[in-house]
């Protein structure tokens, strides 16, 4: 099964690499980060500019990047169902859940690509126009540049988990409809609706999207010279994301398994 999923994933990668749509997301994220110096100063003035990175990466990633990711993943299965190309794929020795796993892997790869685009552009901007010394307070270095880089990498890694859950969510929506527009609209619309009602309904701690900023908050606190721990929020977010991913992927598999793929 693993070989078949990897095979299908390579096919998905091959298809995605030939679509212009794939490159729009990373380009938008890069442009968004490049615009950030307009609202958050970066300068070679002897003070470290990690605060810019702590601002630019999650801003670009969790607003624009998230929307792009939801739209991209929501269109994946729906587009194949709508055009009928899924029949070309599923008459080959590939089970439906394996096809879905390949799509999920593609979505995760896209999430990594968006994160990398935001991260690389943020760091490159500061390297080019600002300072990346350690974080100091009262003349004493509290976090060295190496420690900050490590914190950033851990934050980026942990922030991928809610993004992977978002991939599972959008992919699940995608299996419910043959219309790409409807899938994208539903994925973004439901996401926004849940974000609005989760606090009044007091369900926010149970929703993975609540924790999407949590790992970056730790990095931002350390940029300011504060001690900050990954526990409980960032780790609780990771666990919530993993649990939701399992539920959403199972629902997506069930929906696709029950679909009739006739004309």
């Amino acid at each position: 099964m693993i070989a078949r999923v990897l095979n299908a994933y390579m096919v998905e990668l091959s298809k995605a690499s030939r679509q212009a749509l794939t490159y729009i997301g990373p380009v938008l994220v890069v442009l968004a980060v490049l615009c950030m110096p307009l609202v958050r100063r970066v300068a070679r003035d002897g003070t470290s500019d990690y605060a810019f990175i702590a601002y630019a990466t999650p801003m670009a990633l969790n607003l624009l990047g998230l929307l792009v990711l939801l739209a991209y993943c929501a269109s994946q299965v729906a587009a194949e169902l709508g055009s009928g190309t899924i029949r070309m794929v599923l008459v080959r020795p590939l089970r439906r859940h394996e096809f879905l796993l390949a799509k999920l892997l593609l979505g995760m790869t896209y999430a990594v690509l968006l994160t990398f685009s935001a991260a690389a552009t943020s760091w490159a901007t500061v390297l080019a126009f600002g300072d990346l010394g350690g974080v100091s307070y009262g003349g004493e270095v509290i976090y060295t540049s190496g420690a900050m880089l490590t914190t950033y990498l851990v934050a980026a890694g942990l922030s991928l988990l809610p993004l992977f859950a978002a991939v599972a969510y959008a992919t699940m929506i995608s299996t419910f409809t043959r219309s790409t527009g409807a899938a994208v609209g539903a994925a973004v619309g439901i996401w926004l609706l849940v974000d609005i009602v989760k606090y009044p309904l007091r369900i926010a701690p149970l929703v993975f999207s609540t924790y999407i900023e949590a790992p970056w908050q730790v990095f931002a606190n350390r940029c300011g010279g504060f001690e900050a721990s990954w526990s409980p929020d960032a780790l609780y977010g990771a666990a919530t994301s993993a649990a939701w991913s399992t539920v959403l992927v199972s629902l997506a598999m069930l929906a696709l398994a029950r679909r009739n793929l006739n004309a």
Binding site: A3, R4, N7, A8, M10, V11, S14, K15, R18, Q19, S83, G84, T85, R87, M88, V89, L90, V91, R92, P93, L94, R95, R258, N260, L261, N262, A263
Partner: protein, 299 residues
């Protein structure tokens, strides 16, 4: 002969609509089997259930001696499928589409051979979005035969093709069936292509099997429908119309076409010779699949 496909009490319902009801049939290995029927008869649904694209509501499908759902991967690896109006990734070339298909099939095959067989070798590097409907249909066929399958499931293979391309595709399928002994199941409402290709046909109507016969038996010469070449067709027609054993008569230049109530050409010739007509020949009319199909569907 070994059965390649065995279908037992196959049923598919969409809500309250029965698309296929209690269908049972067998297709032998190496046979070219036609599924005929008017629109909505359940031919495509049956084919898609065989291909694993549609789950049956009940019943059993056995392909290559194995239960189809449990052994889907093995069966799919040995089967080529052409769906109705095949779709491809428009932003990829014909060749790239086939390459992806071979990768999914985990088979090392040369794509150019399949493109050549369907006459698309030169158009292989064109984006699918720029191919005509007929070329896409041929690409669909190329995809079906790409992995040299033992079983071909074809839904309307001559769809969207011009008459010349239809002939090419029919010739190709005929050649494949002859040379490779591939088992072919062909769903179509084009009686001509079924008549030319198939060894046996099943006729479906409203989801039910109404007939399943060898094509040769269906198309055998019909002793109750004959053409008589003779010297005075108009006068002979008038005399024949008066006979109570004649159902109908049509006059053509130099001949009459006679439908008899009973298959008794001897009575006809005896009558015409006795009436003094000079008969140059009697030609029994060959039944067409269309005749049989209409008769079965209407009954």
């Amino acid at each position: 002969m070994v059965a390649c496909i065995q279908v037992s009490k196959l049923r598919k319902r969409y809500g309250t609509t029965v698309a296929v009801g209690e269908l049972s049939l067998e297709v032998e290995s190496g046979e070219v089997f036609g599924l005929l029927g008017p629109n909505g008869a359940g031919k495509s649904t049956t084919l898609y259930m065989l291909a694993g694209l549609v789950a049956p509501s009940s019943g059993k499908i056995t392909i290559f001696g194995k239960e189809s759902r449990k052994n889907f991967l093995e069966i799919a690896a040995r089967t080529g499928v052409l769906v109705e109006q095949p779709t491809f990734y428009n932003y990829l070339t014909a060749r790239q589409n086939l390459l992806l298909s071979t990768r999914l099939a985990a088979r090392e095959v040369t794509v150019d051979r399949a493109l050549d067989l369907v006459g698309l070798l030169e158009a292989g590097d064109k984006k699918v979005g720029k191919l005509s409907a007929g070329m896409r249909q041929r690409l669909g066929l190329a995809q079906a035969i790409l992995t040299e399958p033992e079983l071909l499931l074809l839904d309307e293979p001559a769809n969207a093709l011009d008459p010349e391309a239809t002939q090419d595709v029919l010739r190709l399928l005929h050649r494949l069936a002859e040379e490779t002994k591939v088992t072919v199941v062909l769903a179509s409402h084009m009686l001509h292509e079924v008549e030319l290709l198939c060894d046996r046909v099943a006729i479906l109507n409203e989801g039910r099997l109404v007939a399943c016969e060898p094509v040769d038996a269906l198309l055998s010469y019909n002793q109750s429908h004959v053409e008589v070449l003779l010297d005075a067709p108009e006068a002979a027609a008038k005399r024949l119309e008066e006979q109570n054993w004649v159902e109908s008569v049509r006059v053509w230049p130099g001949k009459v076409e006679v439908k008899l109530l009973e298959p008794n050409a001897h009575q006809l010739t005896t009558f015409l010779v006795g009436a003094g007509y000079r008969i140059a020949g009697i030609i029994p009319r060959r039944r067409t699949l269309k005749d049989y199909f209409l008769k079965v569907i209407n009954s």
